[in-house]
Symmetry: C2
Subunit: 168 residues, 2 copies
């Protein structure tokens, strides 16, 4: 018995993206309660040369759909990075989850050794599917979801780690 490539990828992305959507809801509710323009949060960053909240969500979406598509051997769907509101960011997450839910275990399972090629800073980097998932795709995805959480938390939104992890 062991973990399938599908189990280690799609359900994890779907679950954490659902939590991210709830985190955004709390961010918007906080903005409304405090009469803060929600766009202040959408464009908030932790450092001047870090990406703002909106871009963190877009990259988390890209990380999830890119990993799922590459492991499944299908084209990565391209979503324009045009979101500027909490509503649009939630839509982006919902579209990403819809795509993920359309990917089947049959497509992803058996991709452990499939060569995945990524362009990282202009260079082609090749990974076997399993190393790609465990050492690149999942860490990269969690990095951006956590940073989105940290941006909102830094700006006073009342969040706890269970919002990130979801209820077991």
């Amino acid at each position: 018995m062991s973990i399938s490539m599908y189990q280690a990828s799609i359900p994890v992305f779907v679950r954490i993206l659902g939590n991210l959507s709830t985190i955004l809801d709390k961010g918007l509710a906080h903005a409304e309660a405090k009469k803060i323009d929600p766009s202040v949060f959408v464009s908030a960053r932790l450092a001047p040369d870090m990406h703002p909240l909106a871009r963190q969500i877009q990259i988390a979406s890209d990380a999830a759909k890119g990993a799922a598509a590459r492991l499944a051997g299908v084209d990565v769907p391209s979503f324009p990075d045009t979101e500027t509101t909490f509503g649009e960011l939630r839509e982006r997450i919902a579209k990403t989850v819809d795509f993920l839910k359309g990917v089947t275990p049959d497509q992803v399972d058996g991709s452990e050794e499939r060569t995945i090629t990524l362009k990282i800073r202009g260079e082609d980097v090749h990974f076997p599917g399993q190393a790609f998932l465990l050492f690149f795709a999942l860490p990269n995805f969690f990095f951006h979801v956590t940073t989105a959480y940290d941006i909102l938390r830094h700006n006073g939104v009342e969040l706890g780690k269970m919002d990130f992890l979801g209820r077991p």
Copy 2:
């Protein structure tokens, strides 16, 4: 073919903890270059009610060793949370990696269905091993490593995402 419980846990923790150690080195080098007391970074936080850097490292360590021990069915080693310097935090990471490297595939593999019981906010929560690893232990671990990175980045340390991911 598929991913073993060992492969999805120990090597991921070991690799990311190594990256975290390098991130701390860069934090200390930055403090020294800018003549900032390193303890300013060790106690820095993103919000007044978030944990400071030192505690993020301790919890990342706990998440990794706790998951490894629980999946392996051995006692979780207890490390006192007394670190107050970059050097001590690096030691904490090194001790954690040493413990992880002593856990064998034989101990961890087959733990997919093993019941793991955690106390979360005072309540016993039970997970099968696989769900514990994928939906709790890995996300929790990445959450604290990313937040440690975000704290240093927010405080001006020059880090990039490849420091977090490591060179492929």
